[in-house]
């Protein structure tokens, strides 16, 4: 008939394809998306993150059916879900466990990218979309944690919202605007609820789509960090080192899903609070605006960044100011900045050193915490190593990654603990290592003897 286009498919699928590019989309993103054939264990975590997103959305929809976003009713409505709603306990524990597991798989997914240089040109936007997902996820988790309206919900939100009050001049007004009241209150709970159940999930889904479209545009990286597009091709122009995502990796990922669900179910059924790490014990006490619990800490996935917030004391700003001055001198004398930048960047660093000593340490704590997340966005431009993958980097680079990972875990542990002088010193050292790892990356990432990178991916058939 006139106006219909010609397609290969017939029947119902043909009818759809003449109106909507269903087969085309399936081919582009599944059956004719060629991924390198040497993916390993680390490549499970992308699809697992998608699985957890689905779990969170489905369980979240069912929780909203019984939850009441009201300062008077919220705590009891969560207990109602736990005790009275048939299967409510399961749905809620799946949601709370899903929140922590989301961060487990996302951290491992990011670590994979770090190992194999998956953020390097031309995959910068894949990384930036991914980092945006991480940022939105942090907001989603933080706002979701307020909803049970327990003591930890309340005081955690109080502390984090007050972070904004540290910003010079506009801070206190900004914090008041975010809370909608002089303290965290019913108004705060309602707006966090709106963000948690609709605004941020919409943004999150949009970013996930952008992340995958960007990935499929440039193609997946792999543990060797070499492009399969640059390798040999078959008669149809398909890379011979690539295999169609479906059925090969769709089936492969099911193994990952099975393994993941075993762990997930074990936590949901046997240790949903995970010893106070997934749901903190203080959160089983209703929110009391007049009494802070004796020890408050954020949930584990925020604690590495939270440690860096606590590490910045007035004394420690001397160390940071000295580091800035040192950086300014080094960049001026030895740096390879061109023209006016050779003057401007060192001057900015010197101004920073002065500001570090003139603005409150409280503000710099917030800057350190925010900066430690924001700095990750710039990874594609900080890494100057001639090879992508850790496999072909000098051995001491691996030790450096090891130190970084251990530091991150230790910072995470310290963030869960009450403050004490020894721990504070440790978190200050940890903060220096974390920031140094990234800020000095343009220098160290190009040093050392790199191993020869193979022409094609290395792969041994099982």
């Amino acid at each position: 008939m006139a106006g219909e286009k010609t397609v290969e498919t017939t029947g119902l699928l043909g009818w759809i394809d003449r109106r909507f590019p269903l087969s085309k989309l399936f081919k582009e993103h599944m059956s004719e998306y060629y991924a390198p054939k040497n993916f390993n264990f680390w490549y499970f975590f992308g699809s697992l993150a998608l699985l957890v997103l689905v779990i969170q959305i489905v369980t979240g929809i069912f929780l909203v059916m019984n939850y009441k976003p009201d300062g008077e009713l919220a705590f009891n409505s969560v207990e109602f879900i736990m005790r009275e709603v048939p299967w409510g306990w399961l749905i809620r524990y799946m949601h709370s466990t899903g929140a922590s597991m989301f961060f487990v798989v996302v951290y491992l997914h990011m670590l994979r990218g770090l190992f194999y240089g998956s953020y390097r040109k031309p995959r910068e936007l894949v990384w930036i979309f991914g980092m945006s997902i991480f940022l939105v996820l942090m907001g989603e988790a933080f706002m979701g944690y307020l909803l049970p309206w327990g003591q930890m919900s309340y005081w955690g939100a109080q502390v984090i919202v007050n972070l904004f009050s540290a910003i010079p001049f506009i801070g206190p007004e900004l914090a008041l605007w975010i809370r909608g009241d002089y303290v965290v209150s019913d108004a705060t709970l309602n707006r966090f609820f709106a963000f948690h159940v609709i605004a941020l999930p919409l943004v999150l889904i949009g970013l996930v789509v952008a992340h995958i479209i960007a990935l499929h545009e440039v193609g997946s990286n792999n543990p060797d960090g070499v492009e399969i597009k640059d390798g040999p091709k078959d008669s149809k122009g398909r890379p011979v080192d690539g295999i169609p995502f479906h059925p090969y990796y769709s089936v492969h990922d099911m193994v990952g899903v099975a393994g993941f669900l075993i762990v997930f179910a074990a936590i949901v059924f046997f240790a949903p609070e995970m010893g106070g790490y997934f749901i903190e014990f203080n959160n089983f006490i209703p929110a009391d605006p007049l009494k802070t619990p004796p020890h408050i800490a954020p949930v584990w996935y925020f604690t590495p960044f939270y440690s860096m917030l606590r590490a910045i004391t007035t004394d420690f700003t001397w160390v940071l100011a000295a580091a800035s001055v040192l950086g300014a001198v080094a960049l001026f004398l030895r740096g390879n900045l061109r023209g006016v930048w050779r003057i401007i960047v060192p001057v900015i660093l010197l101004v920073l050193a002065v500001l570090l000593r003139t603005i409150d340490a409280k503000f710099w704590g917030v800057v350190a915490m925010g900066g430690s997340v924001v700095i990750l966005f710039f990874l594609p431009w900080l890494d100057h190593s001639p090879v992508r993958s850790i496999r072909y980097r000098p051995t001491w680079h691996k030790y450096l990654y090891g130190v970084f990972i251990v530091t991150f875990v230790i910072l995470g542990y310290l963030g869960t603990q009450p403050p004490n002088p020894v721990f504070n010193l440790m978190s200050q050292i940890g903060t220096l290592i974390y920031l140094g790892f990234f800020l000095l990356m343009p220098v160290w990432s190009r040093l050392g003897t790199f191993k020869p990178v193979p022409e094609r991916i290395t792969f041994k058939a099982h």
């Binding site: 972070l163 909608g180 009494k291 004391t313 704590g365």
Partner: protein, 219 residues
């Protein structure tokens, strides 16, 4: 739109138009495209005003800041009482004479012993005791670091989680900030400021304090 094209050079005898490749396709409309975008953009931004504005505290939340009267005649020496004002805990501490004396020895360890930093302290409380009457401390029990409520450890001496040479005061469990019995912050802790002293005044007979009003703030 041939009548528009005729105003430019380059119309040949047969009516075909040789457009300058450097010009946009519709030069005569560029101003209007830009103007429409600008006006539309302003309208779009203006639409954000009600949404951004809806985040501000409601009149009801503002009205909840009514003054609170606290009977102080029955607070024993060395004890304190916590009341709620604007949703925040406010402490009224009845200091002993010894505690008042000891405040004078703390200056060397404090970040701002004379409350010289702006905000947080009304004029009448800018003294060593940070109060109208040295016997009574009235302070908002919210840490000036990130808003936790510090725990009172009024007695001097060591305790779990406390600094070794504890002189008595308030200790914030969240990030380890400490304050003396006048709500003055110690040096080198995360909190930058002394605890806020709210506006308050004593009733005429001296048996109660009214929190939320003073000579500059009338309810």
């Amino acid at each position: 739109m041939s009548q528009d094209n005729s105003q430019f050079d380059g119309v040949s005898a047969d009516g075909t138009v040789a457009m300058d490749a450097n010009l946009p396709p519709d030069p005569s409309r560029r101003l209007w495209v830009a103007t429409t975008c600008a006006v539309g953009g302003v309208a779009g931004l203006a639409t954000a005003v009600p949404f951004v504005g809806s985040f501000a505290p409601s009149d009801k939340a503002k009205a909840a800041g009514a003054p609170v009267q606290v009977d102080i005649s029955n607070i024993p020496e060395g004890q304190m009482r916590t009341v709620e004002w604007r949703g925040k805990p406010v402490w009224v501490l009845h200091r002993t004479d010894q505690q008042v004396e000891e405040l004078k020895d703390n200056d060397a360890f404090l970040a701002d012993p004379h409350s010289e930093r702006p905000g947080f302290t009304p004029e009448y409380a800018k003294n060593e005791f940070r109060s109208r009457d040295p016997k009574y401390l009235v302070a908002v029990g919210i840490c000036t670091h990130l808003g936790c409520s510090p725990t009172p450890h009024l007695a001097a001496g060591p305790g779990p989680g406390l600094p070794a040479n504890w002189e008595g005061g308030f200790f914030c469990p969240c990030h380890g900030s400490s304050f003396d019995l006048a709500g003055r912050v110690y040096k080198n802790v995360p909190a930058p400021d002394n605890l806020e002293v709210p506006p308050y005044e004593f009733s005429a007979d001296g048996t109660s304090v009214v929190i939320g009003v003073d000579e500059n703030n009338r309810a």
